[in-house]
């Protein structure tokens, strides 16, 4: 890997030209930076640099109480805040040994799957934009707004939801959820159909994505891939099935698996996952309706949360992959150490291996298909 000299900005070495891509570059999603050594259009060496959105979240967590940290988790993967909240809450609940009531778990499932749809919609939309197809992005965003409306009307915020509390959720689903959901469901499907029509069987799209930055399952596991990127490589791993949490073992859904681990597979896996999420929400809502109306939403937790000293790791399947929280407590009201295991972090470090030898245009396609969210990458 180190045959070529490390690229540095501003210095061109021999036959190669160093191109500094980012951090303010349309394809770099604001905060990523790639220094690429190029031979014409093809990439000889790629050196990703991160940390442009390092906000010291882990350090911040040590100075806040357990509840105060929940809003900070919103700002990790800002495309879908709810899985972040739930993952953190689950970690603290595990540390305290608290069992969350079933109804609260179902509400969490419903909201998390909605967030998954929203996240995939953004990912696919941006992938389209980066490959030059602008229109699907707009179609997807329109439907995404409707999901936001549900979030907003449930949590009070569109993006940074601060959903749930440690030990359960703070509020029940409002009465007209069913109506809203029935309105939303066909619209999401419609937007997906339109996207499929515009992209999936489009010859140019296929040329641009099939076989681009393909990755083998073995490599993917070695690099610590999780989530859709791993499944695209052909590994059937989904924490929702393998290590069920939040009653996920009660739902029937398929886990889509790709073959080559290329951009197209990642795209298709995400498309199918959206459809599966719709099914999960249907089943979860059915279970939810069977619950008595006055079933508890919160477990018995003290007002000031002081977990016993100890350390736990708890993870869930966020839209990007395994999102885990390691919480270490020293018995006080503030966590001693919070470590966030972001899925992007592990995936993005394999980026040089994914794109070296390909063209600049492929770098863009690959990066968007990995769905790297700087907020959780840099924390």
């Amino acid at each position: 890997m180190n045959q070529n000299p490390t690229p540095q900005t501003g210095h061109d070495t021999g036959d190669y030209v160093t191109v500094n891509i980012g951090p303010s570059h349309p394809a770099m999603h604001g905060t990523l930076r790639v220094v690429a050594l190029t031979d014409g259009e093809s990439l000889k060496k790629v050196d990703p640099e991160i940390g442009y959105l390092h906000r010291g979240v882990e350090k911040l967590g040590e100075s806040l109480t357990y509840h105060q940290f929940i809003p900070i988790t919103d700002r990790l993967n800002y495309c879908s805040a709810i899985p972040n909240n739930v993952s953190y809450e689950m970690a603290v609940e595990k540390l305290m040994g608290v069992e969350v009531p079933e109804k609260a778990q179902l509400i969490r499932v419903i909201m998390m799957e909605l967030a998954r749809i929203a996240d995939h919609q953004v990912c696919i939309g941006i992938l389209g934009v980066d490959l030059g197809a602008f229109t699907p992005f707009f179609y997807l965003i329109i439907q995404r707004e409707e999901i936001y409306e549900i979030f907003e009307w449930f949590n009070g915020a569109r993006l940074t939801n601060t959903f749930g509390r440690i030990g359960g959720v703070d509020a029940d689903l409002p009465d007209d959820f069913e109506q809203r959901w029935e309105e939303l469901k066909p619209n999401v499907r419609k937007a997906n159909d339109e996207t499929e029509k515009l992209l999936t069987h489009n010859r140019i799209w296929m040329d641009r994505t099939i076989g681009v930055s393909a990755f083998s399952a073995e490599d993917a596991l070695n690099w610590g891939f999780t989530g859709p990127c791993l499944r695209a490589c052909g590994v059937k791993r989904d924490l929702r099935i393998d290590e069920p949490y939040c009653m996920y073992d009660k739902f029937k859904f398929e886990v889509p698996v790709g073959k080559n681990g290329d951009v197209f597979d990642r795209y298709i896996v995400r498309m199918i996952e959206m459809e599966e999420s719709l099914k999960i929400i249907d089943q979860a809502y059915k279970l939810y309706k069977e619950m008595p109306a006055d079933a508890p939403l919160m477990a018995r937790v003290p007002k000031v949360i002081k977990p016993p000293a100890g350390e736990v790791y708890s993870a869930l399947e966020s839209p990007n992959g395994e999102l885990g929280f390691f919480v270490k407590s020293d018995g006080s009201a503030k966590p001693y150490r919070i470590r966030i295991r972001p899925p992007c972090f592990m995936i993005y470090q394999a980026f040089p291996e994914l794109v070296e030898g390909e063209l600049i245009a492929d770098l863009v396609a690959c990066l968007s298909s990995l769905n790297v969210i700087a907020g959780e990458l840099d924390r």
Partner: protein, 188 residues
């Protein structure tokens, strides 16, 4: 056979287990620092363990835990406050620890492996030959705690800029920083 026994069986004969703690079902094993790579290879390759996936790697600074705790002043029945004697200080445990989170994909078991790092010898063997996934997390640990990884292919700062003077996640580093400034000079 439960995980704890299997891990003991695997690592026990070579005296590779320093201690084992279980917290809410999470098993964590502390291993000696010098043999961390061997332990990882053993854990990965032993058939009935098969921890073939490195889920995460990070550091913890135990400075505040090692401090002798101030006992809360107790009011005696007479009302007079009596300061209790500080506890007998034992030898301080090493300040830092590096935690590896392993995962067995076949059995969906998780294991935490810990290495304790003395302040006087801040060097751990790198895990990159075993799992490529250890690359950036090790750089992050270096960035945030200053723990060096011997043999790492590209050990430089990951999240902070290159000439950042401190290691922010250390407990003695204030949250709002020590007034580090970024010079806004263009770099060419």
């Amino acid at each position: 056979m439960d995980l704890k026994k299997r891990v003991e069986q695997c690592l026990g004969p070579d005296n590779l287990v320093v201690s084992m703690i279980e917290c809410q079902g999470d098993l964590s094993v502390e291993v000696p620092k010098r043999s961390v790579v061997d332990v990882m290879r053993l854990l990965r390759d032993t058939p009935d363990l098969g921890f073939n996936f490195l889920s995460d790697l990070f550091g913890v600074d135990n400075l505040d835990l090692n401090k002798p705790k101030k006992k809360p002043t107790k009011k005696t029945e007479e009302g007079a406050e009596t300061e209790e004697e500080p506890e007998e200080k034992g030898p301080f445990p090493p300040r830092y620890e590096v935690v590896y989170l392993l995962l067995c994909l076949e059995r969906n078991e998780r294991l935490q492996v810990k290495v304790r790092v003395e302040e006087s010898d801040m060097e751990v063997d790198t895990l990159t030959p075993v799992w490529k996934a250890a690359n950036w997390p090790e750089r992050e640990v270096f960035d945030m705690f200053g723990i060096r990884f011997k043999g790492h292919p590209n050990l430089k700062r990951l999240l902070m800029w290159d000439d950042f003077p401190a290691h922010p996640l250390r407990k003695d580093y204030p949250l709002e920083g020590q007034g580090e400034e970024r010079h806004l000079i263009y770099d060419d």
